[in-house]
């Protein structure tokens, strides 16, 4: 750690990992409800477990992005953070607001939560991933703006690198597109049209800029490859991301009331979305192969390579599987979507946040890398989680193909629930693999507490 104020990243990373554990526990509850329908009913209905599962994911990734920015920006800008106090204050505001929101989901019926938080004044609740009460959404905007102010001021007073510019652009985009979550007309079609300006333009747009910046930063650090080379790659990758991903939004506009021409725009552009992810894979391996030093933190290098591979598979390949309109006509809104969602979020965003945590946490704890024993354990966590996620995805894909066949392609289509009963075996296998994922996560968390010989951090 080169600057004192980088230390503020640590609570953000710890909170991120804590919420990650919560996310997985609720994922297991939902997975079981898929096969034992009345499990925990009516205490935790499926929709509540799902809100907690997806909202925790979003919140912990945001904690991860913010922690990453607080760690990276002082080092890149070669100056102390504008205001570590503001960063600490926002940490607590975000954590308390997030915890209260999750408790609200769990403790009162959703309709009462809507009444309690005055949803009728500005109704924004009850839409997928944007279930947060309106006051929580306003809180998120305040926290993110304070964070952006802090980071932007730091960049302005210090050295401006391409990595910080790309990171800032991604983070500002995140804030700007979130504002569309406040637009909720009574026309469902318009609502859906702009809902995607938050959801798609986040995960297949500006978040990829953040992903690229984090990965580039870690690769510079662990490989020692010339910054000019890495930043050139970064620009080319994110250029491809926006060329394919922005018009690629059209792959959500096939069947929701929007004009038929989106089937062409969406299919053609989103079919190219794997390209930037493939470039990211090539980029990560290329830089590690051309490394000018052997960084003692081998776990961080593994996470960085893993991000390249798994984001390509999850976002790229599994996205392509169902992105062409004639295919999507049958797969839209099935377990195929769930399969893609799981591996894409894990491979791209979970893994890149764990990459930066893996690199930065030892530094924040005063050493260049963890002990060999701790790193081996972290790598066990890496492999268990990554391999289980591959299998979760494969089982959901199998469930999805069968579902599509039974319910949509067959000459005698089955009703939804009958088709679900037919594919139950794959939901059981998914749940079992989910348990292995949890074991991997526990091992990952334990690795932080494993001692052993360590090297002191370079000054």
């Amino acid at each position: 750690m080169q600057y004192q104020s980088q230390a503020v990243a640590k609570p953000y990373f710890i909170a991120a990992i804590g919420l990650f554990v919560g996310q997985i526990l609720f994922g297991l509850i939902m997975g079981l409800q898929y096969v034992i329908g009345d499990f925990l009913f009516p205490a935790i209905p499926f929709n509540v477990a799902r809100m907690v599962h997806t909202n925790l994911l979003i919140v912990w990734l945001l904690f991860g992005f913010m922690g990453a920015a607080y760690y990276m920006v002082p080092e890149e800008s070669e100056t102390e953070l504008h205001s570590p106090k503001l960063a600490w204050l926002m940490f607590w505001v975000f954590l308390v607001a997030g915890a209260l929101t999750i408790l609200g989901y769990l403790l009162v019926p959703y309709a009462r939560l809507a009444d309690m938080t005055g949803n009728e004044l500005l109704p924004t609740m009850g839409r997928e991933f944007l279930e947060q009460p309106t006051i929580t959404k306003i809180g998120i905007v305040i926290v993110v703006l304070a964070f952006l102010f802090n980071i932007s001021m730091t960049v302005l007073k210090g050295r401006k690198t391409s990595i910080t510019m790309v990171l800032l652009l991604g983070l500002w985009g995140l804030a700007i597109f979130f504002l569309f979550s406040f637009y909720n007309p009574s026309n469902l079609i318009l609502d859906k049209f702009y809902w995607w300006w938050v959801v798609h333009l986040w995960v297949e747009g500006v978040w990829e800029l953040i992903l690229g910046a984090l990965l580039a930063f870690v690769l510079i650090k662990v490989t020692g490859v010339d910054r000019e080379v890495i930043e050139k790659w970064l620009y080319v990758i994110i250029a491809m991301t926006l060329i394919t991903g922005v018009i690629g939004t059209g792959h959500h506009y096939f069947w929701i009331g929007t004009p038929g021409y989106w089937q062409w725009w969406g299919s053609i552009f989103s079919a190219m979305e794997p390209i930037p992810f493939f470039m990211m894979t090539v980029f990560a391996f290329n830089m590690v192969n051309r490394r000018r030093r052997d960084h003692p933190n081998r776990a961080a290098t593994l996470w960085a390579l893993g991000t390249g591979v798994m984001s390509f598979l999850g976002a790229g390949v599994w996205g392509f599987l169902h992105t062409l309109a004639p295919v999507n006509y049958y797969t839209h809104g099935t377990q195929i979507t769930a399969a893609h969602g799981h591996m894409a979020f894990y491979g791209a965003y979970v893994m890149v946040v764990l990459t930066i945590i893996s690199y930065a946490m030892p530094m924040l704890r005063g050493r260049q890398a963890n002990s060999n024993k701790s790193q081996v354990m972290e790598m066990w966590g890496f492999w268990l989680m990554t391999v289980s996620m591959v299998f979760i995805t494969l089982f959901l894909t199998a469930a999805g193909i069968l579902q599509v066949w039974l319910q949509r392609v067959s000459a005698t289509p089955l009703p939804f629930m009958q088709a679900q009963d037919q594919v139950a075996i794959f939901y059981w296998l998914r749940e079992l693999t989910g348990v292995i994922f949890l074991i991997g996560l526990v091992i990952y968390v334990v690795s932080f507490f494993v001692k052993g010989e360590t090297k002191a951090a370079a000054a």
Binding site: Q33, P42, R50, L242, T258, G333, R408
Partner: protein, 141 residues
């Protein structure tokens, strides 16, 4: 990548790509906005339909169901449920929940009033009349 392809070339390429993509996207969004009224039949969005959508959101229906294929995949598609089951069945079904059948997926009891139920049905009927390019493939959703 070759030496003649410099970082500033890459940066310019990125900015060009970003501006071009967003402008093209905005142009398409503008055209879509103009085309939507004929496809979504917004003239039929009565106060009942609008209230039905509010009830849909306030009870987080999308946390289990899909509507026009978007939402959760735990329970049936409801974009075309009006055509599949009809209004009376929908109302009776909602009132009968939860079934309490052991081991089966359960839907909570929401204690809707009669007029709430009518509004929900009005919302689902309006939704089923949107031009969705013939999706879903069949009535089962």
């Amino acid at each position: 990548m070759s030496e003649s392809f410099t970082k500033s070339t890459a940066r310019n390429m990125f900015w060009g790509a970003a501006v071009f993509s967003f402008l093209l996207f905005l142009a398409l969004a503008f055209d879509t906005t103009a085309a939507l009224p004929k496809r979504d039949h917004r003239e039929n969005i009565t106060p009942q339909v609008a209230h039905g959508k509010q009830l849909w959101e306030k009870n987080d229906c999308i946390g289990c169901h899909t509507i026009l294929g978007e939402g959760a995949y735990f329970a049936p598609e409801l974009g075309n449920v009006y055509k599949r089951r009809g209004g009376d069945f929908i109302k009776a079904w909602i009132q009968a929940q939860p079934t309490g059948a052991p081991g089966r997926r359960q839907m909570p009891q929401f204690n809707f009033s009669d007029s709430d139920l009518n509004d929900l049905v009005a919302f689902l009927k309006w939704t089923s009349e949107v031009n969705t390019e013939k999706w879903p493939p069949n009535i089962e959703g």
